[in-house]
Symmetry: C2
Subunit: 171 residues, 2 copies
Amino acid sequence: MNTGAVAPLLTADVDGGAISLRRALPADLPAIVALLADDSLGAGREQSQDMTPYEQAFEAIDADPAHLLVVGELVSPGAETGQVIATFQLSFLPGLSRQGAWRSQLEAVRVAESLRGEGIGNLMVQWAIDESRRRGCTLMQLTTHKSRTSAHRFYEWLGFDASHEGMKLTL
Amino acid sequence: MNTGAVAPLLTADVDGGAISLRRALPADLPAIVALLADDSLGAGREQSQDMTPYEQAFEAIDADPAHLLVVGELVSPGAETGQVIATFQLSFLPGLSRQGAWRSQLEAVRVAESLRGEGIGNLMVQWAIDESRRRGCTLMQLTTHKSRTSAHRFYEWLGFDASHEGMKLTL
């Protein structure tokens, strides 16, 4: 895999090296699924025996410019390649309300547990906010499980307002 | 405008006639915007002086099969044509989480105030649930403002779980 073909979206120094955000590639899927599964809520929802459904979902995301699947790589000092330690999906959605506003939607934000609290989530969400503005969105939205109280504080600190109930129906 | 070219998605008898759901057409925009504006929260967010931003948003929605903008028409007994009295947008979004689940998202659900409580919202959301299943979605989601307590009860009655905080950031 030649990850050099994917231009970084953002590069920043953090404790332990440098973090680089870039579009996800098919070869990143095992690492992304591991991040999704390494989570109190995700543990029971993911599996790694059969990657086919993830590969199909990746193709659908990657084929549509309305969706951007991003990974964060941590590159240790002196290392040439990095390790995928974070991910998120950002989608750009048209709608009539709010005078035909485009809105961006953040989903599946994850940072490896051992690296939380070091500002990586902040770098990612700030980049997503900037990218949403660049694409002409006037509203950004996400839902976060009510049990994730530290995530609520994080998003409120970034300016998000917990104004809505986020309702889900398993089909 | 020839609305006859748009096949109904659903037709059902209600008090005062029959309701028919169909894909929205450009000529429906004034009625849809009026529904969005006739709302405690929407009143300050919409305007009808310049329809250009709504027309542009309509084109973006209509050009992408991931989005379905629907209107409900009420046809009085004996009448040939109906009046747009309800609307919603349903979007189909790919993602990696939940084993690569497709999820559907319901936005901008509105029923004319004079016709609320007559089961029209129920018909619309039930149709949206069925359509989401037909398209292979395994999760459906929406956010609803915390002040809309009767909407919360309605969605919970339909089986939705208010498990998440819905967070918004104006850009």
